[in-house]
Subunit: 229 residues, 2 copies
């Protein structure tokens, strides 16, 4: 495992690349590398975060619990993404829970290093800002999708999203395997409805499945479903 932030490849993918040598050294000296097992939380809704988590490996679901007890997954974060930024920046407790979907390896970076750099290095702040602008745009898209598309359309979209963002394994299955419940929480529907649509997609030859694993069989048709045909 690479232990010096200066040499960490992951850094290339996120805002940390805008840090100066000295800043990076401080981060490196104060960071703590952690292994999070599948199903374990990085943090929970309402926690006050004392730092951010830089994902080195694995995938985390960011979700928010609703009054009726269902989780809505707002984002799936993978290698190179930094979690908890918003909470640290706004100095509020976090509004999302982060739970490992895979076994994960993350670096915890205390907020002091972050805040210090935010105040002194405009390039870094601007990098973070650009990232957040992007996240906000994505969030707006999710809002429009959820409110204007049918569950079936969103299910099809979710599978394409999973392929595009997490890829496929050698057998043609989606590299990120989610439980049916997680899928339903991404899409924002009842688990039974998600399962029903998976069955339908299987019958129609849009996807194939083996246990939890799901593979995309006919991307074109899946895209047609998204478009509403």
């Amino acid at each position: 495992m690479e232990s010096r932030c200066e040499n960490c490849i992951i850094r290339q993918f996120n805002s940390l690349r805008a840090m100066s040598k000295e800043e990076l050294k401080k981060v490196s000296d104060s960071k703590i590398t952690k292994v999070i097992k599948k199903g374990e939380p990085l943090f929970e809704e309402g926690d006050k975060l004392n730092g951010v988590y830089c994902v080195r490996n694995g995938v985390s679901k960011l979700s928010k619990l609703s009054a009726n007890g269902k989780d809505q997954i707002v984002k799936l974060a993978t290698k190179g993404e930094v979690l908890g930024q918003r909470s640290v920046i706004s100095q509020e407790s976090t509004n999302l829970s982060a739970v490992a979907v895979d076994d994960m390896e993350v670096c915890f970076i205390p907020k002091e290093s972050i805040n210090n750099t935010l105040q002194k290095n405009p390039n870094f702040t601007l990098e973070v800002l650009r990232h957040m602008a992007h996240d906000l745009k994505e969030a707006d898209d999710v809002i429009v999708n959820i409110s204007q598309k049918t569950v079936k359309q969103r299910m099809a979209e979710a599978f394409l999203y999973l392929k595009n963002n997490f890829g496929e394994d050698e057998d043609g299955f989606l590299a990120l395997t989610l439980s049916r419940e997680d899928i339903s929480n991404v899409v924002g529907t009842a688990t039974e409805s998600a399962i029903r649509i998976i069955s339908e997609f299987k019958k129609k030859g849009l996807i194939h499945a083996s246990g939890k694993k799901i593979g995309i069989k006919d991307e074109r048709k899946l895209l047609e479903v998204v478009e509403g045909f």
Copy 2:
């Protein structure tokens, strides 16, 4: 009308307050004050923005058109808010349209002033970042609301939101008057459904209405509806 940014009260409400005297002077010299009539657009989805709009008066709806031709209103922006920031920051064309809901008065600030300050003044960048962090948190809340609450719950929530954010006039009506269609686009439902629920709320004494104007009659009961009772 106040013509010098340095003296503009609106500035107190937004990130511009973190600008230095000189930066503010530049902004002031390059800004253009515009009057936008109710129903007119500030900008449209897909436009490349050459600057941001600082709202001095009136309200703008930020919306995104979906494939089926319905608008989803993602945010209602009022006095003190700055529109188009995200687009300018990420140097992409905007993903939202901004249309005046009221008669508006806005200052257009060319992107050069903004970008320049973003690169040189960490305090300003941090201010903008904090704002965006807040917007992102709100967007996450909207996602959870839309996917987990019923239309009726969201309608009740919308009225409370309108009261809390835009206040009431002397006769006890919501200060911001929206068309039924706009309300349905905020809530993310069919216009007829929104109208039906308004009728129901009227019958049950939760709200009262006179033409377009809607007033909150029983806030407690409205809150109960939001909570699902």
